[in-house]
Subunit: 161 residues, 2 copies
């Protein structure tokens, strides 16, 4: 127990932290400059838009997005405030509810995807060959132990996002 990491592992750790923070910052800033809300809104709208009949339980959204329960609750508050989603009652489970994306929500999601895709291309895509990107995925997956779910299961949906 308590073995020390190799220099290589430590470097990988450092770069993982620094590079993602830079890249994320750059992408978020691009979106903001074009007047769009934070990425988390996009993620939520995407999940909702892909769900059957455009609705999800908050708890499902929470699991997809890997964020804490109270974050989900407040994110939904904001989406609802902006008219991007509505809360609907859930008859199966009266503790719960459904959150349904609105037309405005779908529209925003699509518009954001344009800007978002361009930003990904600008800050990731054009710096990496497809082969390198795949290799990077592999290596990251070794760390993640399951980045799975989310993206993989609905590969078909990607082109339409």
């Amino acid at each position: 127990m308590k073995r020390k990491p190799s220099i290589e592992a430590t470097d990988a750790w450092t770069r993982l932290m620094r590079v993602q923070s830079r890249v994320l910052g750059a992408v978020e800033q691009d979106l903001k400059k074009e007047g769009f809300p934070p990425l988390a809104w996009y993620e939520a709208l995407l999940e909702l838009s892909l769900a059957p009949s455009g609705e999800l339980r908050p708890v499902e959204l929470e699991r997809q997005m890997l964020i804490p329960q109270y974050s989900t609750s407040r994110l939904i508050d904001r989406l609802v405030d902006e008219g991007l989603a509505v809360r609907r009652e859930c008859q199966k489970d009266k503790r719960g509810q459904y959150v349904e994306i609105t037309e405005a929500g779908r529209t925003l999601q699509k518009n954001m995807w344009n800007a978002y895709a361009a930003a990904i291309e600008r800050h990731v895509g054009c710096k990496l060959s497809d082969a390198d990107a795949m290799k990077l995925c592999e290596l990251l997956d070794q760390l993640g132990c399951s980045c799975d779910g989310a993206t993989a299961n609905r590969r078909e949906a990607v082109s339409s996002r």
Copy 2:
């Protein structure tokens, strides 16, 4: 302009975001469980401890750590409040100041490194061969366009941290 990213690039982006957030969360939580302050404190203490005579200008710390100016200012406030650093007047430039690490600061930095190193090993090191870690660094560096500075310049110091 405005070309769309490939599936591979998009996947790499997604994994970069998700994996670092998981790994960071896991490491931070390990540290917290052992009663240590946030990682940012460690980073700052490390920078200070490596600086000649253990002191830096806030603006230098800011550049090393890649955080906004006001964050640095407040981080220093906290370190000073806890007796881990002291503010010293800067005669060369009276707008500025020096921040000097205290003995308590150096001690905490060393203690944190034990826990931190173990956490890196647990969440990164043991999941990746050294060769894979190096490859990961390379790929991330392609994105970062300069993760450089910080770590690379003072490789000698690493074993002693």
